[in-house]
Symmetry: C2
Subunit: 380 residues, 2 copies
């Protein structure tokens, strides 16, 4: 099998890989994806190979695009940073969007979502927004980006004042090995090739970074921004992430709006983060009350809204707007959503000279059904 | 096997019962339990047989004590009550303690916890507080009680102004069949035999009970009481329960104090209840804010306190005080706790003429370890 060969797996590992049926189609064949003959993604972690890794047979041979590794979270700034890193840390902004790897296969760019799908929408955006110059010089590297903006199929957000969608590079890695470039080199390359990248907020001594980050986090929180990724400047040690209370609340708000479609682990972990942050930030009583109110609101408000929606006879759903340059890509994207198992309903397609704007709703069926059942009087 | 015979199980069912290893010891043999030769409890539901059912070989033959059936919860008062019940409903107070069945085996009373353990502490209390008169006249009935008070091994509470422990009958049932007496008959018998019973708050037409209960719930909430059980006066339809927001918050407070020892389902379900109640009670903005603050506080405050406890080098634990009349029973109870797998540490035993007061701590090891790990800087 070309996957095992490309990854250099032993015969034994190769057999296990097949038996566990970890490999899935990464894309729907289409002229828009003409450089790719076949592409398989890892639906879960397999030994060293990250979930979301893609092995693609392309017109130029087989390519490996490694999955983006999970970044662990510091629950306490002190002593986590001091213990985990060496002399210094680079603190970068963690933006709130979806994780995308952009790589060149054959003649064109391809955008891979976290789970390893080649996404038609994101790929079209990448081809429009990211030049080929970088990849002409570095064909083996991939850009690991946060895809951010209001026109996001996964995380539509109005922060950052981006109406459409844009990419912010946070890592540049060797696609085949996942080896990252040092932070400074990444920034140099981004600037040289005119690629947007996430803010570097500072380089601090590991010993007192927790103090700096604590005040950065408070400031970012007030602006409703997500948080930070703390990195070894040389990228030899795995990074850690840390988020603002406002983002934890925002995540909870989202999860409780769709409370029966979301994992309880997702909610639980965000609540526990708040506990540790509240402890570490040594808040005044007033600040603590605010945090409690924010937490309570982020849980109850969206839940009550969803109950109201169902009580009014509607479905609980997420409304999404995406602009496409090509109608064919839009149609391919809708097929792609279906393939991913997303339950959706197209509301409107507005065509104009620049392409089309697609309005659709992602239906949260489990939450809707659960609410409806109880509103009709079914006990739990 | 005597269990299958007592329950009239088919040969096939009997075999399945053994294969699934559902039966466990219900008690530790001891002179205090001299009427019982052998007793097995159902560790989970098996067909019609409830979890917590006990089959006991006694000096007077084999007895079946059926487990207390799970009471389902109304998430909405309207239309749940109207749909579920017939003409009228009896609304009783649901007290906040632990569920105990008291039955006579041989010459003495025995107290069974929800899961079917014969608890030495609760049995001693039952023998002191509940007379034999009732059981002389009705040897086949069991008293289903809430065991309430400050001296509770499971749910120590200061509400209801009970320093020690007391029993409040909420159901009288045939031990072998689980058939309940009608509500009025139960109250008559309790009054005749001088047994304390939970308050009957009213009998209402099923059509407008939701309005009555909604105001009862607000009133009980202000007094920090738990909620109500809504019953068919004839007990032919299964009851439903409904709790106050203050109790939901109290449960969450307890669960988040010990957040890694508690099930996420426990937390999640209590949060969802708050959503439905908030929706149904059509609150003012001010009341809604209060509910959010109460929810947020009930989650964060105990969690931060537990983090502080571990940060101070202590274990997260629940402190419990119990009074025993007999030192032997106290020693048996400690063995019983160990058998149940409870992780505890005896702090002090004060003996006096009336017996002994045991102070012990239930150690929440998982929560303690989780907090310690993160305070030491381990990422999640």
């Amino acid at each position: 099998m070309f996957v095992s060969k490309a990854l250099g797996l032993s015969r034994h590992a190769s057999k296990t890989l097949e038996e566990k049926s970890i490999l899935r189609d990464a894309f729907i064949p289409h002229p828009f994806f003409s450089d790719v003959i076949e592409a398989l993604r890892f639906d879960r972690k397999f030994g060293e190979i990250e979930e979301g890794t893609v092995v693609a047979k392309t017109v130029n041979g087989v390519r490996v695009i490694r999955g983006f590794p999970k970044i662990r979270r510091a629950l306490t700034l002190y002593p986590s940073i001091k213990n985990h890193f060496e002399r210094e840390v680079a603190v970068e902004e963690k933006m709130n969007g979806y994780n995308v790897r952009i790589a060149r296969l054959g003649k064109s760019l391809y955008a891979f979502t976290r789970r390893g799908y080649i996404c038609p929408y994101t790929t079209e955006k990448a081809r429009n927004l990211i030049g080929m110059d970088f990849f002409k010089d570095f064909p083996d590297l991939m850009l690991c980006c946060e895809a951010v903006g209001e026109e996001s199929p996964f995380v539509p957000k109005r922060i950052y004042e981006i109406d459409g969608l844009d990419f912010f590079v946070f890592d540049i890695r060797e696609a085949r090995t996942n080896k990252p470039l040092p932070v400074k080199r990444k920034i140099e390359l981004c600037e040289e090739y005119d690629l947007k990248h996430v803010h570097l907020l500072g380089i601090y001594s590991s010993k007192n970074a927790h103090e700096e980050i604590s005040s950065i986090i408070r400031k970012l929180g007030k602006e409703r921004r997500e948080g930070v990724v703390i990195k070894d400047p040389e990228m030899k040690i795995e990074p850690l992430k840390y988020t603002t209370s406002e983002t934890n609340a925002g995540d909870l708000s989202y999860a409780f709006r769709y409370f029966n479609d979301y994992g309880k682990d997702f909610m639980f972990s965000r609540i526990v983060r708040e506990g540790f942050q509240s402890f570490e930030f040594a808040e005044s009583e007033e600040e603590f009350r605010e945090r409690c109110l924010r937490l309570g609101m982020s849980i109850l408000k969206p839940m009550v809204e969803s109950i109201r929606v169902v009580s009014d006879g509607e479905w609980v759903s997420e409304k999404i707007r995406l602009r496409f340059q090509s109608i064919e890509v839009m149609e391919l994207f809708l097929k792609h959503l279906r393939k991913m198992g997303v339950d959706f309903r197209v509301k409107e397609i507005k065509k104009d000279s620049g392409g089309a704007v697609l309005h659709f709703e992602r239906i949260m069926r489990s939450t809707t059904d659960k609410i409806r059942t109880h509103l009709e009087g079914q006990p739990w």
